[in-house]
Symmetry: C4
Subunit: 278 residues, 4 copies
């Protein structure tokens, strides 16, 4: 019984270090992890530049193996220290953690390295975990909540923008035609979105007076419509700003890994696990 | 009399399915319609890509006929199930529904298929009907109302932007001249709007130092002025967000097709038709 | 004495028609004037397109003379019907009205027509008078007041943007240099403003990795900074929206031409002229 | 003792003129300084244009020497008139003042003038001191405070934008590849930020249908995400606008140079120096 208790403590300590951010060890772990992730991203970036890859190919390869092994150890520790590993494995960050670790191992089984670079990109998804670390900056949760609350509104808006783009894209295809670069309706819709969002590459631009007139209308619509998402997110953001700093004390449930929002919580609000030992 | 009653019931059932969204059958109908419209839009898009059209021309042609027949049946059912068909025919969606159905039939009478592609584009106007369907997402009405309320304000703003564009466009025409791509005043105004809305294609760009200086002023004006529509729509949007979820229960008047806003309504607020049977 | 009285009445009637917008005759006058101004602008625009000018040169010339004579008559009537003409002559719209009328007359004295096209552009300044007419749309005054109230704030903001542009433009000149299109510091500042305001023509774009990195920073700054004028104007706009529809009844002072804001006003708030006859 | 007192007064007068803005002499000094700084910036700008530099090289050289000597005198006076010079020397404006003065002197020791132009750019950092002068416009402090308050929020936002850029940039590199201009991952990230911020140079643009589809998604994300910083700064700005005009009376501490915010202050809030003589 004492061994079991000890074992539990040992796992609880690892849990606190890996998942928690309210102890010095937990903070240190997160910062070190942040640095390793950034390092691995920079390595992938530099590897893609031919002149660098030719010179330092060996160094990049070793670096990637070191990072891959570190991530593997971290992944195993995460699995071991949590009560219900399946909850973690199928969570958003669980999947990203696995995908970040896998690519380098796959080089053993699949030989075409050219094809594998596509998998390497998945490692970059790991950057989303940084977002979780940044939580101690305190504000990202607010942003996330504001975006979540305005989800359906933004969906309706994006949907409306797409409909307008299809309509105007087709009209521009008929007005300008393939000879002026509007080679097909999908290509024309691409141009319309480039214009509507005020990006304006200029790889395709209207040549006929009528086309330029319609383009002008599209720009003014885009100019006016840009106000809508701003209004939506602003309203939601200011609402969520008010009820912010009350919660979020950096602990997380040792059973399911969910954040503990209130410092006086006795049970996990997600899985009901008892958080306080009498 | 019983037959008439029965007939009335039969029509009322169709009305509920086609116009209403609050019964399971009504919801299913709208979702199926949504899929058919999307399918027809994708067909028109793919048809415009030469490589696809060469391969699958026959398939695209048959698909268009199937969609055209489906839309024709739907249009007839809409006419039959409503009390006052003329109200529907001349409503916004009535006209769009007709225009979406017509183009394929016209190929019998007009032989130049090249010219007919222009009519085919009208079919895409049907996408606006999707907006009506999306209403069950719940938010599009809010957006529509906010835009309606700020209509005159946006008109004044767009008018002001146009005046500034005419003025600055003429000045740029005189400063840069036809040799630097500003071939005429309308073309110069087109460039000004491209710049003012921060689209910036780069197909025309100022070459003289004075022209670049004025361009800089136009950009900073555009940068400052972009705030105005945002302020307008934001203010209206936040006002309309408050008094939202109270109304809108998905029913519509069987006489004129207008939406029924309040669940306790006994008469249609548009045509006065009695909604409740004693 | 009776003649003087009559004379006064005659002038008062003209005043009401030309300056006022609250009588049917006054409204009609403003709408006709609006149409004539728009017509004259379209003529100037079409004249600048070589293919149109070759065909219809005679028609454009006659049109311009008709418009010039109409504006001359209008200008004289404005002078005659007002008590203190000097106030009108040196007001903003007084100067624009004169400048709009003058160019065509100058063709008698100055022979180089090429040079005169510069003066013709001033006629387009007349478009600002339309803004005054649009006042009956009711909202433009609100916009004008909101912009006026946030004047100093916008000045500080634009000043800050210019300082940042000078600093970043100089750095980019040193980093990229004349070989990559950054030929001088002013040209480099022009590029910085093009980037900071998210216009992005692409006529000049950074080629070195360091230049592209700094460009990235400029874009993100521009992206964040765009929020500032929006915040300023939004705040001012919502404040001025509240206390709007109370005043503005379309009358104007027969002495100095200033708008009469309150319907219960007995004296002009600008010159103290008695507005009500006992 | 009397000499010491006199000496103190002499220093206090200089302090008031140089650091303060609430006496006529202090205001005059700041305006003259503003003009000299602007003059020196314009000289550096014109010098960078080859055609100007060839003609007026001698004049530019003399102008720079005059400005350098004036700045040197000003810097010495600032050091002399303050109680604790070390506080000024290591303050933000102290460092900028020194860096603005130094470059011309360095031409004696380092011979390659080509290399020195890099140092000359530092002189432009002096423009930040103008911001301090503009304080009397009254609003810049508000803006600065609003930006300071939303610092962490903007940091989180920019961080999020960077992560999304890294992720999407890598995907675009894999989709488009070096043959379409996406030569490396960092270059691809540069393109993503150009697109996400709606700048859109068009020096690189996607060629494949899949690439154009992803580009479209990036634009719509950028379009929606632009609302977030606007919401943040707007909220902060409106909060700080309320409690503004209460403080800031233009005086500054004769000991450490910090601004005195409250007119009833008896001690400097930064160094505790007694401000009022009994």
């Amino acid at each position: 019984m004492s061994t079991k208790k000890k074992n539990r403590d040992w796992r609880a300590t690892i849990h606190e270090v890996i998942y928690g951010t309210h102890t010095p060890a937990g903070k240190l772990f997160d910062i070190v992890l942040l640095i390793v992730i950034l390092y691995s991203i920079i390595i992938v970036m530099l590897e893609s530049i031919p002149s660098f890859d030719n010179k330092y190919h060996r160094f990049f390869n070793i670096s990637e193996w070191v990072v891959t092994i570190l991530f593997t150890i971290e992944y195993i520790l995460r699995l071991v220290s949590i009560k219900r590993p399946s909850k973690y494995i199928f969570s958003f960050f669980g999947i990203i953690d696995l995908l970040s670790t896998v690519p380098k191992y796959l080089t053993f089984f699949i030989l075409q390295s050219q094809f594998l670079t596509a998998f390497r990109a998945l490692r970059l998804l790991r950057v989303f975990r940084i977002l979780k670390l940044v939580r101690f900056v305190g504000e990202s949760n607010n942003l996330a909540r504001a975006l979540k609350a305005s989800k359906t509104k933004i969906f309706v808006f994006v949907f409306f923008v797409l409909i307008v783009s299809v309509l105007l894209g087709t009209i521009m295809y008929l007005v300008e035609g393939p000879t002026h670069g509007f080679t097909s309706i999908p290509h024309s819709i691409y141009w319309t979105i480039v214009t509507l969002t005020t990006v304006g590459y200029g790889d395709i631009s209207p040549q006929t007076p009528l086309g330029q007139f319609i383009a002008t209308l599209i720009m003014i619509i885009g100019y006016g419509v840009i106000a809508v998402p701003t209004g939506i997110v602003s309203a939601e953001y200011s609402t969520y700003s008010k009820n912010q700093r009350e919660n979020d004390d950096g602990r997380s449930c040792p059973n399911c890994g969910a954040e503990i929002k209130r410092s006086d919580a006795e049970y996990c609000r997600k899985c009901g696990y008892k958080l306080i030992e009498e």
